[in-house]
């Protein structure tokens, strides 16, 4: 093999690794999105119709996760602990 071929393989391996990693993370985020949707459904079923927005707000957290984006919960967690890291 020539030096150019070794160079192509080295850069190609890095590219494939990064691509695979991004793919795995994307798949995990999609799974979390589905899980959040299931929780929203669960919260809606459990919430008593007239007093749903009152004390306890059993479905509130799940609904906020869905409505405000996938990173909302992580953000709230950071704020609650006094940091956004």
């Amino acid at each position: 093999m020539t030096g150019g071929e070794y160079l192509a393989i080295a850069y190609g391996v890095v590219f494939v690794f990064v691509l695979a990693y991004v793919g795995i993370i994307a798949a995990k985020l999609a799974r979390l999105q589905r899980e959040a949707s299931e929780l929203l459904e669960l919260a809606r079923r459990q919430r008593p119709a007239p007093q749903g927005a009152g004390a306890g707000d059993p479905g509130g957290d799940a609904e906020r996760v869905i409505l405000r984006g996938p990173f909302y919960a992580a953000g709230v967690r950071g704020l609650e602990s006094g940091t956004t890291a």
């Binding site: 020539t2 150019g4 393989i9 850069y11 690794f17 990064v18 979390l32 996760v65 919960a73 967690r77």
Partner: protein, 209 residues
Amino acid sequence: MGVALALSLLVAPEDADQGISQRIFYIHVPIALTAYFCFGLGAWKALLLLWRGDARYDLESYVAIHQGTIFGALTLITGSIWAKASWGVWWTWDSNQLVLFLVLFLFYCAYFMLRFSIEEGASRSRSSAVYALFGVVLIPISFLAIRLAEDFIHPTVFTREGPQMTGTMFTAFCVSWAAVTLLAYVLYRVELAGKRLAIDLRELREALQ
């Protein structure tokens, strides 16, 4: 990343000794330095966990070490390809830096075995943190091994006299290093956010059921 690739593959001059295969340097060394940085970050977060007792550092330490392991694997693979192109062998046990980096990599691979063999909780967090802190000792040894042991196999580019390369080569290297570090940082933040979200959803499911 695009600029780094253009500088590394098109702009930087070809090495007179190694030819085109020397361009692997622009991806191999930044990835190796990023791996060291990620392991160091993981150890720093582990220290913060033991010092302050804040549980969030456990996850941050874990994700940093996970990133370090990925970049460590890439360092070994790209280094092996470069070794084959330059020395004619995929691996040599005669180079202290290679062996010490492999030891460092395997040490942090074992971190995951330890972590997932203990039930989730404060005990697991503390054990993982202590293990991560032990590993950080290997980083300066691995980094300085080539200089301490007078290793003539693995090349030394950065000496006390400065970088042993031309200005264009050094610029390409610095841009590549910045690009790889930025990539690692983005991947770290995304993975961390995903893991925190998974924990929050699990707690939410437990609260609803």
